[in-house]
């Protein structure tokens, strides 16, 4: 959808904000880069929930909308 950058960087939307990711990067790699533990969060990509087992297989593309959510205190 949106343009990929010349140097292999792509822009995605991450938790509501623009984010530069590496083209062909898997979601697992993204999480690692962000220092996040995949066991306590859930990933939604383009409105689809991504199973934990698939995180290492799915590769980011420019324009992907990623939501990383977890549990917080709430009543």
């Amino acid at each position: 959808m949106s343009a990929s950058q010349p140097d292999g960087a792509i822009e995605i939307r991450l938790n509501g904000k623009p984010h530069m990711a590496t083209a062909e990067q898997t979601i697992s790699q993204l999480l690692e880069q962000l220092g996040l533990d995949p066991r306590v969060l859930v990933v939604e990509m383009n409105r689809q929930i991504i199973r934990r087992t698939e995180l290492g297989e799915i590769r980011l593309e420019a324009g992907d909308v990623i939501e990383l959510v977890h549990f917080v205190g709430g009543g």
Partner: protein, 272 residues
């Protein structure tokens, strides 16, 4: 109502086998707690333990990528100790609530959800039309749905028809602390439903919890009454006792009220 007093030498420590059963799962405590608005995670955990709650609700939110502390509340609430119930707080449509429910389930803890669909920002009252729609979808997807609703019997009956696991009418608006404003509606709901009825929202202090349980309902969910007490841990202890007190009083069957007095000491045997 099979209530058995456990055998033991000292009456004052007698406890009762009177579990809360929702969707086949047994809980010893009839008190469910929210985990929001505490001054610290330590205070939250200590309060929950003081209250003796086994089930606690959590919200589904984005990881805050700007914060240094990005830890999930799971770092503080061990799923081995507490049963975590994801909620859909903050959702204003069936679609949104379904999305949050699916995300919550994906954590892998359970397929339970405390379903809320809010209809108004000021009062946080539920939108029952959207609620019914979301409940139908989620039940079809295999969720165990505990539905936060208002105190309307007709909506409660419809939720039960749709297959929810528990109906959760409010006592008064979320976070208001006004207590049980309409005892009659809660009694009507309890009398007519077969699924558990858990009063959710509005309890402000211990006596509110007791009076609510005395209507015969199966449990109470609260958050603000503890988190905003001057001393939350102490209030946790208070609520543990209050829920049990109200439950036991309901089971014990209260005396009739009388307009006139009746002496507690014998009338015979007075001196001349």
């Amino acid at each position: 109502m099979a209530v058995t007093t456990t055998d033991q030498p000292e009456g004052q420590r007698a406890e009762l086998e009177d579990p809360l059963v929702i969707a086949g799962r047994r809980f010893h405590s009839r008190l469910i707690l929210g985990t929001g608005k505490y001054a610290s995670n330590d205070e939250m955990v200590e309060t929950i333990r003081a209250a003796g709650a086994e089930m606690v609700t959590v919200a589904v939110r984005r990881v805050d990528l700007d914060a240094t502390n990005r830890e999930s509340i799971l770092h503080h609430l061990d799923p081995a100790e507490f049963f975590l119930l994801p909620n859909t707080a903050g959702c204003y449509s069936a679609e949104e609530a379904v999305r949050y429910s699916r995300l919550g389930r994906e954590t892998g803890l359970s397929d339970w959800v405390k379903l809320e669909v809010i209809g108004d920002q000021e009062t946080l009252l539920p939108d029952t039309a959207q609620l019914l729609e979301a409940a139908e979808t989620l039940v079809a997807e295999g969720f165990t749905v505990l539905a936060y609703t208002n105190d309307d019997l007709i909506t409660a009956l419809r939720l039960q028809e749709l297959g929810v696991a528990a109906v959760m009418p409010l006592a008064s608006p979320i976070g208001s602390g006004q207590g049980l404003l309409n005892e009659l509606n809660i009694r009507l709901i309890k009398r007519r439903l077969d699924v558990p009825v858990i009063v959710d929202a509005g309890v402000g202090t211990a006596s509110d919890a007791s009076v609510t349980m005395e209507q015969g309902v199966d449990g109470i969910l609260m958050n603000t009454a503890l988190a905003e007490a001057d001393r939350p841990v102490l209030m946790g202890h208070a609520m543990r006792h209050a829920v049990r007190a109200g439950r036991l009083a309901y089971l014990a069957g209260r005396m009739e009220k009388r307009e006139w007095a009746v002496p507690s000491s014998p009338l015979e045997g007075m001196l001349a």
